[in-house]
């Protein structure tokens, strides 16, 4: 297990290097720069600013010095928030985004798995069709549509919940969490239904029935674990996706999380901010993929004990 983890972390280095290089070239080749503005700024001022942030250097020199900074864990200063470093900005936004992601994940897992298992117990009946149709809808509905729709219904017509904000008014965390988690809940529901159906048709489920186990016990004790291993393996990428995908939801609900910084950084050509956020998210995705893969391995005794050749 430790060797597996170490190997995967080593593999992550070239992946990150490609991400950094590609992003670096992309942001620098985008038209405009951090200091181009609508109103005319004197050329000397821009020159002075570019010199201050070393933007007057040749591109390869900027790249090399940036890599050096990253190795030291320093993402550099933000171009648009003078006096604040990218590290500080990420540290400020991360707790909010992480909290939002966590709630969304809880919703996705709880609703997704229970709906999927529920549907799998009576395939091709109403008990299957209703949650699966809802899941299909959830997968198809983008968060920029679902969010405003929920706001309209629960915030404006029914006036049950606040329409925006984060942690200011009680209950204002509910709608953003649902908006962010819905698509993942839908995906997990479909995934766990499929896996449960697969497992429930296995011979060892028939063996369990032949022992006289009642159906609910069969589902809980024999089917759930095998059926949920692929779902667990999906959780890592899902959580990374939630964090990364939160920028739409954060924009809709005016939440001061990481996602909003990311969007603004792209608009502002805030080179260091874009790069820093991209590297940060890429590392998170790699890390969460690794964690969920390790969990899935641990749940599967065949993989946990290595190749496990049969003994005579």
């Amino acid at each position: 297990m430790l060797r597996f983890a170490a190997g995967r972390l080593l593999q992550a280095i070239p992946v990150l290097l490609v991400v950094i290089t590609a992003t670096f070239l992309l942001v620098h080749s985008a038209p405009g720069g951090p200091f181009s503005a609508e109103k005319a700024v004197p050329a000397e001022v821009i020159k002075a600013l570019e010199a201050q942030y070393q933007l007057d250097q040749p591109l390869w020199k900027q790249y090399v010095s940036y890599l050096g900074d990253i190795v030291n864990g320093n993402f550099g200063p933000s171009f648009k928030y003078p006096g604040r470093s990218v590290n500080e900005l990420i540290a400020a936004g991360l707790p909010i985004t992480a909290e939002l992601g966590l709630y969304a994940m809880l919703i996705a897992v709880l609703i997704g798995i229970s709906a999927g298992v529920f549907a799998s117990l009576r395939p091709n009946t109403l008990q299957d069709y209703v949650p699966m149709s809802a899941a299909m809808l959830g997968i198809c509905m983008p968060s920029f549509l679902l969010g405003p729709l929920l706001v309209l219904i629960f915030g404006i017509y029914l006036e049950w919940l606040p329409v925006s904000g984060w942690g200011d008014i009680p209950g204002d965390k509910i709608l953003p969490s649902i908006t962010l988690g819905a698509a993942y809940a839908a995906y997990i529901a479909r995934l766990s239904r499929g896996q449960m159906l697969e497992v429930l048709s296995q011979d060892y489920i028939r063996t369990a029935r032949a022992k006289g186990l009642p159906e609910p016990l069969i589902v809980v004790k024999h089917a759930l674990r095998g059926g949920l291993i692929p779902v667990v393996a999906f959780l890592g990428p899902a959580f990374a996706g939630l964090l990364g995908g939160s920028f739409v939801v954060e924009t809709i609900f005016q939440i001061p999380g990481l996602g909003r910084f990311y969007v603004q950084a792209a608009f502002n050509r805030d080179y260091t901010m874009i790069l820093g956020m991209t590297i940060f998210f890429a590392s998170l995705i790699i890390l969460f993929n690794l964690l969920s893969d390790m969990l899935a391995i641990w749940l599967n005794p065949k993989l946990r004990h290595g190749s496990g050749a049969a003994k005579p």
Partner: protein, 334 residues
């Protein structure tokens, strides 16, 4: 005469498929007395396994269902029992061993957990007592160092070991009937003999009855007291093992026996086969189901289905024109 342990009468099993309703088992009757072994033989798709699943009420849902007949077991009709009652019988009073030991065990649970499960369910034993019983049982079915095996997962055992575990699981509550559905088909020939020996020894020791389902006539001759020969969902012939092997009357039984390869024949002779194909269950002939392949067919065989008739004490045949003499080749040990 006391009531037999299991008495299946006029059993019918139907499957609701996309192409229509299929009657996989029709008008099937047989009995099993306490302590005896009934061998059910027939080719793939003749309804042997479906019969076993019907007795256990484990027909694939929602397609399969019992359509008529009764399954009397220890004074109750299993065909009509509510599910909750049936769950008390499965695993406790009827044990079942399946064909495929590789997939019959749950890969993510230890052997021990799977073994004690039915004990905890059907008896009042505490966990520690159940564990002790399970270790004894593993030892009993010939698994070395059973206490270590308890903590292992199925993939750590070989095929023969796994089938021993499956047998231990089926027998751990000391059922009065064991249904073994092709218990040795997936195993090596050497292991096959060991497993059959094991089932026989345990049967004598525990005094339970066994229904052994197989397509291997050698296995039947080796183990069974009585034999039922099935063809296309119906009983072709049944009787004691001597009736069937020494005095087969149904042309199908005779064909089966004649197609066993024999060592005393010249080495280049072709194996005897039964010409033709089993009729599809979706469009069964109106008359006898064996009619299209039968060497003794008559005009009425195509239009009327024969009813099973008793010709000797236990010997029953379903044929309008049964053989009177055993064919020269079919008799065993001539």
């Amino acid at each position: 005469m006391t009531e037999p342990l299991l008495s299946v009468q006029h059993l019918g099993v139907e499957f609701d498929t996309d192409e229509g309703v299929v009657r996989a088992v029709d008008e099937l009757s047989f009995t099993v007395a306490a302590g005896e072994t009934l061998g059910i033989v027939g080719e793939s798709g003749c309804g042997k396994s479906v019969t076993a699943l019907a007795i256990m009420r484990l027909l694939p849902q929602p397609m399969g269902s019992i359509a008529g007949g009764s399954i009397r077991f220890q004074g109750e009709d299993l065909a009509k029992l509510p599910v909750a009652r049936m769950e008390k019988i499965r695993g406790a009073r009827i044990g079942m061993v399946f064909q495929e030991p590789m997939t019959a065990l749950n890969p993510v649970k230890t052997v021990g957990k799977q073994l004690i499960e039915s004990l905890l369910l059907h008896t009042d034993l505490k966990v520690e007592q159940a564990i002790r019983r399970a270790i004894e049982m593993l030892d009993h079915v010939g698994i070395p160092s059973p206490d270590i095996r308890m903590g292992e997962y199925p993939h750590q055992l070989s095929g023969g070991m796994r089938q021993r575990v499956v047998i231990a699981m089926a027998l751990i509550c000391r059922p009065s009937l064991l249904i073994a559905d092709e218990p040795t088909t997936a195993l090596d020939v050497t292991i096959q003999a060991q497993i059959l020996e094991l089932i026989k020894a345990l049967q004598q020791e525990m005094g339970m009855a066994v229904i052994l389902i197989t397509h291997d006539l050698g296995v039947i001759a080796e183990t069974s007291d009585n034999v039922a020969v099935m063809y296309a969902g119906r009983m072709a012939e049944s009787g004691t093992v001597y009736d069937i092997f020494d005095d087969p009357r149904h042309p199908y039984t005779q064909g089966l026996l004649a197609s066993i390869p024999r060592l005393d024949h010249a080495s280049k002779t072709r194996l005897t086969t039964i010409e033709g194909m089993v009729p599809g269950l979706l469009d069964l002939p109106k008359g006898c189901r064996f009619e299209n392949r039968c060497s003794r067919r008559q005009a009425r065989c195509a239009t009327h289905a024969p009813v099973i008739e008793t010709i000797a004490e236990k010997h029953k045949v379903s044929c309008f024109n049964p053989a009177t003499q055993p064919p020269h080749d079919a008799a065993i040990n001539t």
